[in-house]
Amino acid sequence: MKKLTLVATSCLLLTMVLVSCTPEAPVTRPTSSGDSDVVLIRVKDGGIESHSSEVVVRNFYAGARAEMIYRIHNATARAIIPEIYINSSANVADYSKADGAVRATPEVLSWIKLPVMEDIAPGETKDFVVAIAMPKGVKKPAEKIGFQIGVAGGTNTLPATVGVAVGTWWLISMR
């Protein structure tokens, strides 16, 4: 009986230690690695290229924040102010790899944090962070949601200017 009591006490203590080590409802920074931790964008004369087609966020939940770096390189001969925007008209249902994701509601789109854009000199590269922060205590809108973030190389004011842009899908799976 003495042994049993000792074992039970140890278990209790161990559990208490585990509980005390549990991180508090985490404002989690995303984990990422290798080539998949940035979206590389290259702005060329008359063109634009993206080296990623989608950003995948897994295990998202109320109170969490997920970020992705958009690394934009200016391969033109002039300074540009690129544009990063929410392409709210894009419907993820049209994306062949949506895998059940539903279109983000205006409420979800309001959680997106777009960066303040800056000039990028010719030949230079700058990082811009796009984030989504789901407020605490909010009910998850769906198991999986999707939206599109667009990037354009910058606009000018000449008449009837034609520009190009690329979009990256964000696919967010909820915990």
């Binding site: 063109g47 290229e49 897994r58």
Partner: protein, 170 residues
């Protein structure tokens, strides 16, 4: 001793019950990854000037005026739209998303290398239309622009608006 043992076991159970939701929360962190794929388009035209336009006129380029070079390695959906709801300059023009010209209200359509009036696509501000849905990898195309000028103007100041072709994995 028996009582002590019982209370310890009960305490352990209670802690486990309380602890389990907290432990579940931390089973995995949020993971964010970018999926590698190459999406790229470029356009050989950057500017078109319709010059002086008459009220209710419909000047246009050819339907092969601009060429989109698409070097994407994946299928893409490509949209065409304008980036603002109005045409800038002097008394601004409203851009009509239904291509219905009016007083200081203009519309615009595009055609992808075909014949004007056949399968024209309205160039909208809100919810841009597809110019090429399910565009295969490495497949380019041409397009033109057609203006539907306002039925009347307030001033003769030059107006401008930006047309944007956007590509995303489809």
């Amino acid at each position: 001793m028996k009582k002590l043992f019982l209370s310890l076991v009960l305490g352990l159970l209670l802690v486990l019950v309380v602890a389990s939701p907290a432990l579940a929360l931390t089973t995995a962190d949020v993971a964010v990854t970018a999926t590698p794929a190459y999406v790229t388009i470029s356009c050989n035209q950057t500017v078109y000037n319709f010059a002086v336009v008459a009220a209710s006129s419909t000047p246009s380029t050819t339907t092969a005026w601009a060429t989109i070079t698409n070097g994407s390695t994946v299928q893409t959906d490509q949209t065409i739209g304008v980036t603002t709801a109005t045409w800038a300059g002097g008394v601004t023009w409203t851009h009509s998303d239904t291509n219905t010209p009016g007083e200081n209200t203009a519309g615009m359509v595009t055609n992808r290398g075909g014949t004007w009036g056949v399968s024209d696509v309205i160039i909208k501000y809100d919810t841009p239309n597809y110019i090429y849905e399910n565009c295969p990898a490495s497949t380019g195309y041409s397009f033109g622009l057609k203006l539907y000028a306002p039925t009347s103007f307030t001033d003769g100041v030059e107006k401008s608006i930006t047309v944007r072709v956007s590509a995303a994995a489809g």
